[in-house]
Amino acid sequence: MEKEVLWRDMPSMENNFAFFEKIYALWLREFKVFLREKSRLVASTFTPLLWLFVVGIGFGSVATLPAMSSVGYQKFIFPGIVCMSVIFTSIFFGSYIIWDRKFDFLKSVMVAPVSRVTIFVGKALGGMTSSLIQAAILLSIGVIIGITYSPLGVLETIVIVLLLSFILTSLGLIMGSYMQSLEGFQMIVSFVVFPLFFLSGALFPLEKLPQWLMVLTSIDPATYGVDAMRIAMLGIGTNSLALDIVVLLGFAISFGAIGAYSFARMKAV
């Protein structure tokens, strides 16, 4: 073979470095698009603020429960609102796989020597980045309502956000990979997003719920995110932080695997 064309064949000997580089390229594209769509950022910050300041203050004026008495209702729901933002941003991100398919960008990636796992991971990292930035904005607003962060707490919170957003971005991408239309996706999303949010204990403590509701909350990954974040930020929670993290890791591994599988079976054309 001629020397000049040697590098054409390099993808066949794909090493780890190539794998990461391709993921980085795909992630960078997501990140740039995110930065350029500022309206998306503003719109998705608005809803959590509404919850925090209107519902938080409104209910805060009447709701006092032993579990939250030490911090007050508004502070109590703050970790829940951060998780809500993660839930919405992450799952909504799944719709971008439908956009990519609609505008044939996905086809141009699939015709390149890139594995489906790479495409999935690149996309998931994009979703995690969006969620993390969103969460960072909310965390800084948290200072206004009197949340004080410890360095360790911030670190823990970041880990929790990343885990939860990976789980939910995967969920969004899984749904997106099976769907053809954005309208269909949006309809399904509302069936998923609101139960995830309301069952997570973002707005109320889970201790005194009836048995059937407890079962539902225990299978909601967001429950563990909210609980973990509450421990990290406020020092109150139902489970231990370690348990929450382990459960989240379990969810992350299973959803990641299902996501990679869904991308592998996704039709290119």
Binding site: V5, W7, R8, D9, M10, P11, S12, E14, A18, E21, K22, Y24, A25, L26, L28, R29, K32, V33, R36, E37, F103, D104, F105, K107, S108, V109, M110, V111, A112, P113, V114, A268, V269
Partner: protein, 317 residues
């Protein structure tokens, strides 16, 4: 360079590609010509490993599309029917993503991106977001993307579909330049006959998933047999008299019109009109439309749009 063996794609009842066999040589510019829905894009998608054949296979650049898809992908570049760049990114950024995906060595990336941008004439617009590009520019960016990794085989799926005439002409210019400057085998699909005629060394006409003709454009046109003279007559014409003329090769009678296939119509038209009372007459050289019309199983309505070189309305009144 490409060897298609019994390639078949079936969807429930529809057979999109029907037991196709075809060989395309190195550095050939091959045109896959046919009406919409003939199976052109399906063939391209299978060759590009985006679609699994129902049966049969193909060898692209020495690699089997079924057992070695990753190597096939490294060997090919493709321009899809619809532009596939991310329009939130700039032209440069789109290409940058793909240099990573194709593992163009980092030392050559910038040089290669600039080279392909120069080739398609987008160097000065490379830092604009793609959403600000015109349709023709988007197509050219696609070509640039397809060329980044110096593919051995380039597929162009309807490269000028939906472009205005001047953009189309420009696109042809770029494709010709590309053939000259980049050593590669080029396969393009189109349903514009004149496009295939203009660009390709060899043409395969495909209809209902089957190749119905395969030759150079010149040979295909020659198969029609001479120039075409179409005469609308006032009264019954004695065809026998026309048949005696030495330069007339064939006579057909269609819908009250007489169609003559003659040598050198321009020189002989006056003589022909001596022998027939014509209401009007049209004559022209055969183009691939004629070849196609002759071959296609579908009845495509007469004339189509344009195509006739000269037209004498109500001649001889």
């Amino acid at each position: 360079m490409i060897k298609i063996q019994n390639l078949t794609k079936r969807y429930q009842k529809l057979t999109a590609v029907d037991n196709l066999n075809l060989e395309i040589a190195k550095n050939e510019v091959f045109g896959l010509l046919g009406p919409n829905g003939a199976g052109k894009t399906t063939v391209i998608h299978m060759l590009a490993t985006l679609l699994k054949p129902t049966s049969g296979t193909a060898i692209v650049n020495g690699y089997d599309i079924i057992s070695d898809p990753s190597k096939v992908r490294s060997s090919i570049g493709i321009v899809f029917q619809a532009p596939s760049s991310d329009d939130m990114l700039t032209g440069y950024e789109n290409l940058r993503v793909h240099t990573s995906l194709y593992q163009v060595p980092s030392s050559q990336r910038k040089k290669r991106i600039q080279a392909v941008l120069e080739l398609v004439g987008l160097a000065d617009r490379q830092h604009d977001q793609v959403k600000k590009y015109s349709g023709g520019m988007r197509r050219r960016l696609e070509i640039a993307r397809g060329l980044l990794h110096k593919p051995k085989v380039m597929f162009l799926d309807e490269p000028t579909l939906g472009l205005d005439p001047s953009s189309r002409e420009m696109m042809w210019k770029y494709i010709e330049k590309l053939v000259k400057e980049e050593e590669m085998t080029l396969i393009l699909t189109t349903h514009y006959m004149e496009e295939a005629d203009h660009l390709c060394n060899r043409i395969g006409i495909i209809d209902q998933g089957k190749i119905i003709a395969l030759d150079t454009p010149a040979n295909l046109k020659r198969s029609i047999g001479g120039d075409i003279v179409k005469i609308k007559t006032k009264s019954h014409t004695d065809l026998e008299e026309l048949r005696k003329l030495v330069y007339v090769r064939k006579i057909e009678s269609v819908d009250g019109n007489v169609i003559l296939y003659v040598d050198n119509a321009r020189a002989n038209i006056a003589d022909i009109l001596q022998h027939v009372k014509a209401e009007y007459v049209e004559f022209r050289s055969p183009d691939l439309n004629d070849v196609f019309l002759k071959l296609a199983s579908k009845n495509i309505k007469e004339d189509g749009e344009g195509g006739f070189m000269e037209r004498y309305a109500q001649y001889g009144k």
